[in-house]
Symmetry: C2
Subunit: 415 residues, 2 copies
């Protein structure tokens, strides 16, 4: 977090999904995986407003059918049950029934309506859940739900598959002199077992806000955070991001687009952006973290498309793995989109704490110092800055290089 300006009114707390008031959580090993934790629950003492976004993949996993139904009906949510190790995807009607069993079991144990329980799964595709083990696990887990550090740690670990680290963040802001807290945990792109689902994000907050404004703050942030990261350009069958807002901070309700709304939206954006960046940093076999900004686009959408085209290009990604200042692949990837821009007006810089180097300017290569370029490229984090001088819009996205390890991880047999 170098951008101090954005943090003036924002305090970073030790990350904990239950830092906002009124939330409990927990996680344990139920037996879906061999040894690691594979079952987590996030619980709100009072029914919470809920906004959620789901994968656009036509092939959606059955648990998402259930969650989407709850979202469509504007149900208040009190619990989210997550299992890892098995995605319950491509499992048809039986898979849907298993998802319902998970919701029902948790609802009964918690004495809340089934319609207030979301369910999601991540792991191998095309295998039925070991539903008896999960039922047993839910029954064991509910009595353990707590707001202590250990339970929050268990919860953050129980949603992981092959992630190499926990992804969590907690921020505190003040709304009219009342403390409001936002926490998030995420599960990233661990596809070391083929067919793992890619991205799950769970955000809790005690903010008191109207539903429409919660939806707007959450959804507008998604396009600049979770939707601007890429590891291999694939959308999984199980991707989802959800926020629960239980109002227990008791701040005067945010019911219009005023300063308070903007403050909350800004803090929520940081939560989603930092979780998104962590997901990329833990990308499969990634050895470099790449931030790409395109400025001067005619529209926001143009800028986003260009950023994603660059970050998704296998040629660009392998060049970064090879620490090669290969601006030609960057501009070629931009050109291969359907965005209309004039190559003669483009500049391309690479940048990080080692310095900044201009590689391409106004349609022509710049003679540059290869040693200096290598010094920048040898770092773990590199920024690509592009100015296309067509308009006033910009976008930033995050990606990683393409390494031998990506191939190795993803070429391994299912087994």
């Amino acid at each position: 977090m170098n951008d101090t300006k954005e943090n003036n009114d924002i305090k970073y707390l030790t990350p904990k999904i239950t830092a906002p008031k009124g939330f409990l959580s927990g996680g344990l090993h139920s037996g879906v995986k061999k040894y690691k934790k594979d079952l987590s629950i996030i619980y709100s003492k009072t029914p919470a407003l809920c906004s959620a976004v789901y994968t656009k993949n036509v092939v959606k996993a059955p648990p998402l059918w259930w969650c989407e139904k709850l979202t469509k009906n504007n149900e208040k949510i009190q619990a989210i049950v997550i299992n890892s190790g098995n995605a319950n995807a491509c499992t048809g009607q039986k898979g849907y029934e298993d998802a319902l069993v998970m919701a029902k079991t948790a609802a009964d144990m918690l004495s809340i309506p089934q319609n207030s329980v979301m369910v999601t799964s991540t792991g191998v595709i095309g295998v039925f859940l070991p539903i008896e083990k999960i039922k047993e696990g839910i029954k064991n887990l509910v009595p353990l739900l707590n707001d202590d550090d250990e339970s929050a740690d268990n919860c953050a670990r129980g949603i992981l598959t092959t992630d190499t680290f926990k992804k969590e963040i907690t921020l505190e802001i003040e709304i009219k002199n009342t403390k409001v807290t936002i926490s998030g945990i995420a599960k990233g792109s661990g596809m070391i077992h083929p067919n793992m689902a890619t991205m799950l994000n769970f955000i809790t907050t005690d903010v008191n806000i109207e539903k429409e404004l919660l939806d707007e703050a959450f959804k507008s942030n998604i396009d600049d955070s979770f939707n601007m990261i890429t590891v291999d350009g694939e959308t999984s069958t199980n991707d989802m991001a959800v926020i629960l807002a239980n109002g227990m901070a008791n701040n005067p309700i945010i019911n219009k687009k005023d300063e308070d709304f903007e403050k909350f939206k800004k803090a929520l954006f940081i939560v989603t952006r930092e979780l998104a960046k962590d997901i990329v940093k833990d990308g499969e076999g990634a050895s470099k973290f790449i931030e790409c900004t395109v400025k001067g686009a005619k529209t926001k959408k143009d800028a986003r498309v260009l950023v994603k085209a660059i970050l998704n290009s296998s040629l660009v990604k392998t060049a970064f793995f090879g620490e090669d200042a290969n601006w030609g692949r960057v501009i070629s990837a931009m050109g291969a989109t359907e965005i209309d821009f004039d190559p003669d007006k483009v500049t391309i810089d690479f940048k990080n704490e080692k310095g900044i180097i201009r590689l391409y300017e106004n349609g022509t290569p710049v003679i540059f110092d290869e040693d200096f370029a290598l010094k920048i490229l040898k770092e773990k984090e590199i920024k690509i800055l592009i100015q296309i001088n067509e308009g006033d819009f910009e976008a930033t996205g995050w990606g990683c290089d393409l390494s031998y390890d990506y191939v190795k991880i993803n070429a391994e047999y299912r087994s």
Copy 2:
């Protein structure tokens, strides 16, 4: 070529770009590359009708500016000059002037108008051509142009960069008892030096045909051949495909969409398809050749989009490298497109000469024999057959796996 039905009226001859009447060719080492041949010319004794398609990349190499101008003006073409080793791309006005020098030098030596000489380049991006060497090379090459086997071999080699084999084909058909010949050579996806242009295709024929019908036959074939292959999903700054038809077979002119037109179009399709397949087989670091067919789509476009999404998926490609019968990645890649289809109506088979195996049917995984699946996947060539049961359209495309070698080849430094 197993499809004997398509070949009833088509004879395969020993491949030679000058097999059609009235064409000469040649190739030599001019000094752009260190040792290998790097300059080729294809020449027609009489001005030929010309159809051409160019890369859709916004960042086009200057030689293509010249060629596109000739195409737009419907110029008859008598010579194509091709250098390899340097793409003359991202070189701006100076690059354009160099392309004009190449056209002018060849035109003067051949005593033909400059407007009848196409020019194209393939190789490193962002470096000016060693134009004096190329001028000298053209002057040396023109007197050597010939229709013998050796000259044709030199010509096919002079357009290559890091391709591991020549790509060439020659077919003969009969149009109203007159022999008509079609030949083609191609340069593939050799990106071992980063920033190499991807795909060049040159087709010669002595057919006598009206310009509009030549255009239609060529362009309709492109969408099912060159536009249906992928190595890494990238479109280069220099891609082009061109056909010259000089009419010297003297067949009664094809001037309507009759049986003769269909016969010519069919043969031309085989030429473009086989060159396209050879380009993929020589893909960078490719160890498997994958043919993918999607049937039962609502539109031809839907079928094409689905085929390309599968063949472009890094997850699908690494699974094939790992010899993993991973249907989950196939259906997930399909689902991530914006094509509307019902996963519950989909079947997925893998197939080759070892047998055929069904992996997914009507929305559910099929229990299959992993040993048998591995037997199929261990082969060099594998077909993916998909039926989506939404309509009557189908498409086929060709791709390759994603191997360690792809990463190695593309991560190497420019130098």
